[in-house]
């Protein structure tokens, strides 16, 4: 380990020891109580669980043709991975060993970064593996890159860095998956840098096991005319929090953040997003939907910051929530921080039950009450998924999401 990497790790560890886990007294964590992590995993909850030596059963994402990196409990599994030639894609672990200087930037803990917390510090101090991806200028992978994070319980800290050169293009899928009954914590940080004109489509699929906690952070910085599109899907885990920070740093950059939560039982899902318009002529679109059943709890906080001088900012945000049960709850808050006049910022929030007129229309066509309700629920969620261009992923998510809800008789027929 090189000197500076070691120093960085130590500093991050110190910061973590000082900060610990955020508490609900912290405004950004008001609705999400992380004390459960300690209750579940004990005092040393941060201690990484395994070495990744044991290969965990694969999941199939039918129809997906992609380059692949598989991780077991936070560790890269080269045997089950397949990487494209011509671009630099390595595991963080091997890069740390071979060229430690190169990972200093990626792993650095910045205490002043928005929404950073003790969890981010722990990640900087402890992340042992992840993916490091460099797509050179004017290059486009012939297939998407699929990062499959399998876990079997316990704690894993992952750090992933994605860098796209000028006018490079990448479709990347981060898929967090667990099928076990152990308690655990996934602590993942993904940093994405887009050079001028680069385009990145990012699917982030959270299908953790029932007793898994999940903490995610996605930090995107964008140069001129680059574009970033996020599809975040939250289906699994008992407690899941994801912070998305998108910085539009140069003229003409654009981002599109989309999210879907489908929560049942006592699941708790929280997304805090922050879009920074730091330059003129940037645009941002944000649309989050949630379907909440049982006693589940959804939290959405969408902050848009428009810096001084960011003329012709064009921003729109929407958050729609469907509550299927009287015990489900949502806390949603759009936040605008505007330091410039010449901006367009539209936002809308809805929280509601199924639409009575739509329900009556379906029933009047002979569809029984229960099925009509399910149909409208599926349609509501599916509208969010309709923005996904990758059909295999969309189908996979539809099946996984709708399997959580009372199923309709002919789901496959409906999805045609």
């Amino acid at each position: 380990m090189s000197g500076s990497l070691q120093t960085l790790r130590q500093q991050a560890w110190q910061a973590f020891e000082e900060k610990g886990l955020p508490t609900t007294r912290d405004e950004d964590w008001k609705y999400t109580d992380l004390s459960r992590i300690q209750t579940l995993l004990g005092e040393q909850w941060w201690q990484p669980a395994g070495t990744g030596a044991v290969a965990i059963d694969m999941v199939e994402l039918p129809g997906l043709d992609a380059w692949r990196m598989v991780f077991n409990n936070g560790y890269f599994d080269p045997a089950r991975s397949e990487l494209p030639p011509g671009v630099t894609i390595t595991s963080l672990a091997s890069l740390m060993q071979d060229e430690p200087a190169k990972v200093v930037d990626l792993l650095a803990y910045q205490p002043d970064a928005p929404l950073s917390s003790g969890l981010t510090a722990a990640n900087s101090a402890l992340a042992a593996d992840g993916a490091c991806i460099c797509i050179p200028a004017n290059t486009r992978l012939d297939q998407p890159l699929y990062l499959l994070h399998l876990n079997s319980g316990g704690t894993a800290h992952l750090r992933t860095g994605i860098e796209l050169g000028p006018h490079a293009e990448l479709e990347v899928i981060e898929h967090f998956h667990g099928q076990h009954s152990e308690a655990g914590l996934t602590n993942s940080v993904t940093a994405i840098r887009l050079a001028a004109g680069a385009r990145c489509t990012h699917y982030r699929l959270q299908l953790e096991a029932a007793k898994q906690c999940h903490s995610g952070r996605v930090e995107v910085s964008q140069k001129a005319d680059s574009s970033y599109q996020l599809h975040a899907v939250e289906l699994g885990g008992m407690l899941s929090r994801c912070d998305v920070i998108s910085r539009l740093d140069e003229r003409g950059a654009s981002c599109e953040l989309g999210g879907l939560f489908v929560a049942t039982g006592r699941q708790h899902i929280d997304h805090h997003t922050r879009i920074e318009h730091n330059a003129p002529y940037c645009s941002s679109r944000e649309s989050y939907r949630s379907v909440l059943d049982g006693r589940s709890h959804g939290v959405f906080n969408g902050k848009i910051v428009v810096a001084k001088g960011a003329i012709k900012t064009d921003s729109a945000q929407n958050n729609a929530n469907l509550l299927l049960s009287p015990d489900a709850a949502v806390d949603t808050k759009p936040e605008l921080e505007i330091y410039h006049d010449d901006v367009k910022c539209a936002h809308g929030v809805t929280v509601g039950q199924l639409d009575k007129n739509q329900l009556f229309y379906l029933k009047s066509r002979g569809i029984a009450e229960e099925e009509a309700k399910q149909l409208l629920t599926v349609a509501f969620a599916d509208e969010q998924l309709a923005r996904m261009n990758n059909h295999s992923i969309r189908r996979f998510i539809e099946r996984a999401a709708f399997a959580k809800l009372p199923s309709i008789t002919d789901l496959e027929g409906m999805l045609v």
Partner: protein, 251 residues
Amino acid sequence: MMIKIENLHASVDGKEILKGINLTIGAGEVHAIMGPNGSGKSTLSNIIAGRDGYTVTSGSITYKGKNLLEMSPEQRSWEGIFLAFQYPVEIPGVNNTYLLKAGVNARRKHHGEQELDAMEFLQLVREKAKLVELDPSFLSRGVNEGFSGGEKKRNEIFQMAVLEPSLALLDETDSGLDIDALRIVAGGVNKLRSSDRSIVMVTHYQRLLDYIVPDVVHVLADGKILKTGGKELALELEERGYDWVRQEAAA
């Protein structure tokens, strides 16, 4: 007899809207209901189709010998009641064809009939789409999603053709249709006329009745049927408005 409505009183939020409707429609008959805005025409159609939010305070509706008011909206549909909405609702994400397939098969199941498979159903909808000259691209779109006003109305009649009701209530199907569309859609409805299918048309305009000639015309005003006549009554209304009907009824 298809349907018999006797002394029907209904209110919304404590406000009485229907004030004693009496109406009997025989099998195969086509009735037109005309009347001023807000007189209760849509309320009557909605109550027949089973929309909630209305309180029937007295009276009865007997449909094919059964007490209609006891049935859920879906049961009414299975028993052959169809409402073409005055304002069809958009349902993004629910496929038009899927909706109809689910509806048709739920009804078949209810009657102990074999459900249609995908191929049979596709054939059925294609054939029915031709009847109202509905562009097949509408079949795979979300229900009424982004349809123009006229397209929505055409879609309603297409749905009627697929669901083959015994009693169809067409609530202002003509409004929103352009001149050519009106002719086409009315032509479709005429092809659907049969001795075992009754049709009620709610309309403000005589024009529709030139295409679909009714057996009986009613005037509904202030929550009551004030006058009933033949098709020539519609012509008279077009000329003279509704005041004279009210005065006549008051006398």
